[in-house]
Amino acid sequence: MKEKQLVFSKWIEGNGPEAETVISSRVRIARNIREIPFPYLASDAQTRRVQEKVAKAAASQKDAFRQFSFKPMENLGALEKELLVEKHLISPYLARESQHGALLLRRDEAVSIMINEEDHLRIQVILPGLQLEEALQEAERYDDLMEAELDYAFDESYGYLTCCPTNVGTGLRASVMLHLPALIMTGQANRLFGALSQVGLAVRGLYGEGTEIIGNLVQISNQITLGQSEEEIVRNLLGVTRQVIEQEQAARQALLNENRARIADRAWRSLGQLKYAQLMSSQEAMQLLSDVRLGYDLGLLKGVDRKLLNKMLVVISPACLQILAGKELGPEERDMERPERLKKLMEQYKESV
């Protein structure tokens, strides 16, 4: 596989609104088919039937799904699946544990429909920058297309029925991936995170539930799915996100005013390490990338752009490194491969400018 195709996804383009703070916006909706048990309780034959039904639903609407490819998990290699996880297109559960799990992936990798995850269907849209409403609209469009062919499990009072009670109702989880170096550096982040949980929002690290915050990347998502409409949920998250952006920008300005030389120095040093280091862990790389991103956003540093930084964020992850190397690599070998790949990306970028 060519590097270009590999390190590509709509969100990686890094060109949406508020891209200085918002890496990506994501919406996913959970749906189930009536009369078939949820995947974890369904038989082998039943999950297979779900896969067939969804594939057929897409195939029977050729125009709408022309840009999609159908990927059953059993046909993919372990690394290929992990790369999809690293690009946030599928969940670790779908990659590793699902029974007859499959993916419908749009060519631009903005839309991914997971089959036989915790629910029969998980329709997901990821766009670069702050585009929650756009992502919701797109997700609903595919939801309507699927509904035209599938008999959804829906209850008049409970709404869309899902395997986990925390998703019942709209089945909607909306989230934004934010880069908050200034709020974290100045120690304001914890207070903010506490306040967010009080308004029904959850804060997580880069890879979702149960992951810690690395590289100053923070995911904020709604918790409540019942009793609010889809538009309300998205509007709430949008409003809060705008406030967080404002605070982060204010904190960045304060840093710039008080510590301009220090921030610039750190950004340039980090860029130097990314260019010349010989050994690098992924955690270290993420911190360095955060420093460089902040420097770039504050206009203190040149020679990179957001797309390159996003690509670098993906290329440092384990599966991507191994696919590029064309062989399996242990943790130490990956720490050697990582700077090599970063160097190559930066050289390619220099040539393209």
Binding site: N32, R34, E35, I36, P37, F38, Y40, L41, E118, E140, D143, D144, E147, A148, D151, Y152, A153, F154, D155, E156, S157, Y158, G159, Y160, L161, T162, C163, C164, P165, T166, V168, G169, T170, L172, I184, M185, T186, G187, G200, E209, G210, E212, I224, T225, L226, G227, Q228, S229, E230, Q287
Partner: protein, 174 residues
């Protein structure tokens, strides 16, 4: 505040230790804090959401006779019992929502602050739901008309109900 260890980075980890009544403070940057052996920075959650939900359900009525009765309730479609649901925190199929209705409503209210969906409705059932609501209303009107001895109106309502029921049956067969 600058890190006490490296003297360069901003300190983001603040530790207050009290040993035998003596208090000491430590202010470290992220990297130095991670290098510190005595600090364990694994914040892996010890329990999953599903376990948590399970105990949320179980705890409220543990031990009562009512709890025992409820734990034996079983979903007729997928055979999941309420006791199993309480343990794993996940429902088995769409039928479970009806089978466990009595216990689910308070649980959902606790999770979401509401137990009533106000969002999107599938296009297909949109029509069906409206149809069912309309039919229900006509039947009530008919009852009222009979009570009030408005027989002409009642006859008219009866005809409309019959027509709708017929339409519904044909729809099902299709």
């Amino acid at each position: 505040m600058i890190c006490q260890e490296c003297g360069q980075e901003t300190a983001t980890v603040h530790i207050t230790k009290i040993v035998n009544g003596r208090k000491s403070e430590l202010h470290l940057c992220r990297r130095c804090a991670q290098a510190h052996d005595e600090l364990d920075f694994s914040f892996e959650p010890q329990f999953s959401l599903h376990n948590l939900l399970g105990s949320l359900l179980g705890e409220s009525m543990r031990g009562s006779r009512e709890a025992l009765r409820r734990s034996k309730v079983q979903c007729p479609s997928c055979a999941l019992t309420f006791a199993q649901f309480s343990q794993i925190g996940r429902l088995g199929c769409s039928g479970c929502f009806q089978a466990f209705d009595e216990q689910l409503t308070p649980l959902l209210r606790r999770i979401h602050g509401s137990s009533r969906h106000t969002g999107k409705v599938p296009r297909r059932s949109q029509g069906a739901i409206r149809f069912a609501r309309e039919l229900e209303k006509l039947r009530e009107d008919l009852k009222l008309a009979v009570q009030k001895e408005e027989f002409e109106k009642a006859a008219e309502l009866r005809d409309r109900i019959k027509a709708m029921e017929k339409e519904m049956k044909e729809g099902e067969q299709r």
